[in-house]
């Protein structure tokens, strides 16, 4: 059974839910502390994040740069809009592949769930066309990542 769910909601939302066996405080910190982020937000095997800027305050900047160590890489920039420590984060981000994807507005909540945490990410896109192009460019990236992983296997 998969622990994570990903579903579309209405015309312009993607909702991801995932449970963690840790406190909301720990899960929140793992999303806002660069030293922790670099350990897990990496995508397919073989990728690393040499640059991780995460200024966890309203108006603070986000910049992640990934590389597969074989000359392939891409980056993401973003800004924090709201932060309620250990409970909720609202931020906007876009990927550069190398052209920028449309802004993705995301609200992430961390709710106590028994001994652990239920994290919900609700990504809202301004309009259907924007979602379409984000999904399209995401697919390009996803495929490239899959090819990169395949390279690793060969």
């Amino acid at each position: 059974m998969s622990k994570m769910t990903l579903q579309t909601e209405g015309d312009s939302c993607l909702v991801v839910m995932r449970r963690f066996a840790a406190s909301p405080e720990a899960v929140y910190r793992a999303h806002t502390d660069p030293e922790l982020i670099k350990k897990w937000l990496l995508g397919p095997d073989g990728w690393s994040m040499p640059v991780c800027i995460n200024e966890a305050r309203p108006g603070g900047k986000i910049r992640y740069e990934w590389t597969n160590g074989k000359g392939h890489g891409f980056y993401l920039t973003g800004e924090y809009l709201e932060l309620n420590p250990y409970h909720r984060i609202v931020h906007v981000e876009r990927m550069f592949l190398p052209d920028p994807t449309p802004d993705n507005h995301a609200e992430t909540t961390f709710e106590p769930d028994g001994e652990g945490t239920l994290m919900t990410i609700r990504m809202t896109l301004p309009d259907e066309q924007t979602r379409a192009s984000m999904l399209a460019s995401g697919m390009e990236h996803g495929m490239e990542a899959s090819y990169a992983r395949l390279e690793g296997l060969l």
Binding site: S2, K3, M4, L6, D11, V16, R18, F20, A21, A22, A26, V27, R29, A30, L36, K39, W40, L41, L42, G43, P44, D45, E128, Q129, R131, A132, S133, L135, A136, S137, G138, M139, E140, G142, M143, A145, S146
Partner: protein, 118 residues
């Protein structure tokens, strides 16, 4: 990628999603599709054209009729994309599980040390 754009744009309309839902039960003619939606044939035909251009449905010729059916590959391409996004996130979160376990261990060993010092 243009076709994928077209697919998502086509799917953003509730009537077109309803048409796809109807076609998922089997082939249907324009007349059969127009009835339940209480729409004129030209209006339905316009929606069908968008769906066809996006590669989501296929038209068959049968005498004077032009029944439509789902094009499996169009829906599959999008499901594939969602599956890929999901797989990448799952992998990240499996790693995060380990990071969280380490954080907890670290915290506990710190607490133990504090206890020893007392």
């Amino acid at each position: 990628m243009e076709t994928l754009d077209a697919k998502f744009a086509a799917l953003a309309d509730p009537t077109r999603r309803a048409i796809l839902a109807r076609l998922s039960q089997g082939e249907a003619t324009v007349n059969e599709l127009a009835d339940p939606f209480e729409m004129s044939q030209p209006a339905i035909s316009q929606h069908l054209k968008v769906l066809e251009d996006a590669g989501l449905i296929i038209r068959r010729v049968e005498g004077t009729k032009r029944p439509r059916r789902l094009a499996g590959t169009g829906i599959e391409a999008m499901n594939e994309w969602l599956a890929m996004l999901g797989a990448t996130m799952e992998k990240n979160y499996d790693r995060l599980d380990e990071v969280l376990a380490d954080m907890n261990e670290h915290k506990q060993s710190k607490q133990n040390k504090k206890g020893e010092m007392r």
